[in-house]
Symmetry: C2
Subunit: 326 residues, 2 copies
């Protein structure tokens, strides 16, 4: 059983992303009572990411007027060791075998636990979404990468490596485009925000997507989910086709997961989904229906995330409560 906080007790939940750090203070009713958001790296590079995480937590605690906490949970991009709390390798943060849990624990003098960000996002959504009665829940969060999480009977599934559910690296196109992992044809290589931006940038370069061109030029990093959504709203059909195709690929992967994991619920979250929910869910559903076995697809719920930007931090708060007991 997880630790149940009494009135006046708090935990900290942190979401450490490649771009932003979100530190939250969570009270005994599992409400976020304070937030602090910082860029993961300073522009001048004068302080490290770890310094910025500590500062974000301190500022959130000050805002909440809380001086004592029960523990800290943190979500970070993998690969990582959730048992030892070590981040192996996070290209966007320049960490190599960084002992994040130890650092947090020593900085604040309380227990700390670390897990994959998408695992914790899935956990948060399972807990606070409308799928808590579901026994087998898959979470997919397409963004710069495509992460996944899997919950069996209310517990995250880790497998032998501790990193199960690397959905983004499921091969969906044999000999397809190269992926950041070095393999070819991974879901990420055809459906992540970068894969989408790359195709949209090419459209912009040919002036086939004037809204994109006028707002972002042809720079992949500028072509964010919200801009893509606006381009589609403004009527850029080729941009829409690119997103639809990518979302359909996610649907193919979801179909495969239905055939293998046989979940009763699938949660879709992340920036792309939030920015263009209707269109995205439509294509994922189509891809899933085309690729899942009908008797396994039957009665499977496909839902979108409800916690938005707070999903990982909330999941991290729940995660440390689970650990405090065990």
């Amino acid at each position: 059983m997880p630790y149940v906080m009494r009135p006046g007790e708090h935990v900290v939940g942190i979401d450490i992303g490649g771009t932003n750090i979100l530190a939250t203070v969570i009270d005994h009713e599992l409400r976020i009572v304070a937030r602090c958001k910082k860029k993961s790296r300073s522009k001048k590079g004068s302080d490290s990411t770890e310094d910025r995480i500590v500062k974000a937590v301190q500022e959130a605690l000050t805002e909440a007027g809380v001086t004592k906490i029960k523990g800290i949970g943190a979500g970070a991009p993998g690969p990582l060791d959730p048992v030892k709390g070590i981040i192996f390798d996070t290209p966007n943060l320049a960490w190599k075998r960084f002992p994040l849990a130890k650092m947090l624990s020593e900085s604040f003098g309380v227990p700390a636990a670390v897990d994959n960000d998408v695992n914790l996002g899935t956990y948060g959504e399972w807990y606070f979404g409308k799928i808590r009665e579901c026994r087998y829940v898959v979470g997919i969060f397409p963004g710069t990468g495509i992460g996944g999480g899997f919950i069996i009977d209310g517990k995250l599934y880790y497998g032998f490596s501790g990193s199960a559910c690397e959905i983004g690296h499921m091969t969906v196109e044999v000999n397809g485009p190269f992926c950041g992992c070095g393999k070819r044809g991974c879901l990420e290589a055809v459906a992540s925000r970068i894969a989408i931006a790359e195709q949209i940038a090419a459209l912009a370069a040919r002036y086939d997507a004037p809204f994109i061109y006028d707002n972002c030029g042809t720079d992949l990093n500028e072509i964010r989910s919200t801009i893509i959504a606006k381009a589609i709203e403004s009527g850029e059909k080729k941009v829409e086709a690119v997103v639809r195709k990518a979302a359909y690929y996610v649907g193919i992967a979801v179909g495969n997961l239905v055939n293998i994991l046989s979940p009763d619920a699938i949660v879709l979250g992340g920036g792309l989904v939030e920015a263009m929910q209707e269109l995205y869910v439509e294509e994922v559903t189509r891809g899933m229906d085309d690729h899942a076995l009908p008797y396994m697809r039957k009665n499977v719920r496909l839902v979108t995330a409800r916690l938005g930007d707070d999903a990982v931090a909330m999941g991290a708060g729940l995660h440390i409560l689970d650990k405090l007991d065990s």
Copy 2:
């Protein structure tokens, strides 16, 4: 805890395939003490498959000199309901919603349990193979179809539908060849014995595989695993290339499973693997290495089945022992 048989006690384990029924009698030391094999359907169609199953069990019991048993376990091709023991639909056996567990239980007056044949084969291999200490075990049995099973901490994983791990219907080639399930590009559609036989028959038709042509003509159903193995041994390079490509596809699927389920062991079984073990494992390993994330692939054991034709029947025997207790 499963039921532990005392000396003199026995259970029956049955493997019901599309072609053959194998009934076995298993003693308290988990040894098969008698076997009876029958064709699943009589040529004249005078008796039903269910009659033939009952007769096979009776003959095996007579051979063993056993008159009283503790229970019966049976494996059959899916889809089926392992809880109610109902076979939904088995094209090769012409069963529709057939209550197999009930029929067996009533025929012999003992408890009976039914499960997917590949689940039970995986379970048997986990129990009797050299991977019993492994916590996350995937079984793949490529044959006429391609079935899979998944064991977590010594227990078969069923998921929401009761039919998890339908590995054969993982999409590995978007818009690939049609599959028996009605979808396209499933692993089965590119790597089952039928998919292989189809390509080899075409080689034979062009006289590009004279050994095959001379032995089987161009009839897909005649091109069995053992003949394919002999053709390769006799030097038919194009036949070998077809099998290698199919086995590589199985390796791609295994790579995907490593990335999703993160197993510590994978068991390869079934007719194709048994007939040409070395070549097959070589290609599966290559496909897996090309498609699994290196840190998840690390220390994963790929082993071949040890129980051969007895795997499903042995797993069925273990399965009823598990049920007798619960």
